[in-house]
């Protein structure tokens, strides 16, 4: 398999299957770190019923590829998988997964966090929250901006 797999998709994914792919014929990488993000039932104290995810199709994958390349320059990484869903997602549904294999546990940890941190501030995705009261586009979180700036 290719070392980097990036997918933007409406349909759900199977987290275990994706991890399995990262590990197939890959006996040199002892460490796999993964992040899975799901739709929470609450945001800023408000009950959420669903999230709508919009993106900029031609730009999204390119943006994620650039983030991955920066991570690869910085750490010794094996395989990388990024899946981000778009469209309408119910509470509890998966939004995003990032998984990184490496020979070194700390490289895998840092690269996974780095990719998530930059995905949050650079990749052209936008969340609209659907509540009982109506719909609302979310604003970026200052913590997220600060986190990316720390690298």
């Amino acid at each position: 398999m290719n070392d980097v797999s990036i997918s933007i998709q409406e349909h759900d994914f199977n987290f275990a299957d994706e991890l399995e792919k990262l590990e197939q014929d890959n006996q040199q990488d002892g460490a796999v770190v993964s992040f899975l993000g799901r739709v929470r039932n609450k945001n800023l104290g408000q009950q959420v019923t669903a999230l709508f995810l919009e993106h900029y199709p031609q730009m999204t994958e390119k943006s994620l590829q650039q983030i991955v390349q920066r991570a690869q320059q910085r750490w010794q990484l094996g395989r990388i998988c990024i899946i981000h869903r778009v469209g309408l997602l119910a509470v509890g549904e998966k939004i995003v997964m990032v998984a990184v294999t490496s020979q070194h546990r700390s490289d895998a940890f840092e690269a996974t966090q780095f990719i998530m941190d930059f995905l949050k501030v650079e990749a052209p995705f936008w969340k609209k929250e659907v509540c009982e009261e109506g719909e609302k586009w979310l604003s970026p979180n200052q913590t997220d901006v600060d986190k990316a700036a720390q690298w």
């Binding site: 993000g37 981000h84 998530m116 990749a123 995705f125 970026p140």
Partner: protein
């Protein structure tokens, strides 16, 4: 001629996802915004938002970036994926 796209809250505010702008180029991104506002004065508020992000040919750029003929320009609010 350039293609201009709008996303998310900005797309809804403008009630427009895409338009073709027939204009003398090159222009900076700031000048493209000014040209859009001069054609659609009611868009001024949305475009004067300092947080608005710009991309040319799917790459984030700043207001001083030069836009050339055939470029794909996009404007959008800060991203909130992940």
């Amino acid at each position: 001629m350039i293609k201009v796209s709008f996303f998310a809250a900005l797309r809804e505010q403008l009630n427009c996802s895409e338009l073709n702008l027939d204009i003398a180029l090159p222009l900076t991104v700031a000048q493209v915004k000014a040209a859009l506002i001069s054609q659609q004065p009611q868009w001024a508020g949305s475009f004067n938002n300092v947080l608005l992000l710009s991309a040319v040919n799917h790459q984030m750029v700043d207001d001083k970036y030069n836009v050339n003929d055939g470029d794909q320009v996009a404007f959008f609010p800060p991203v909130t994926g992940g």
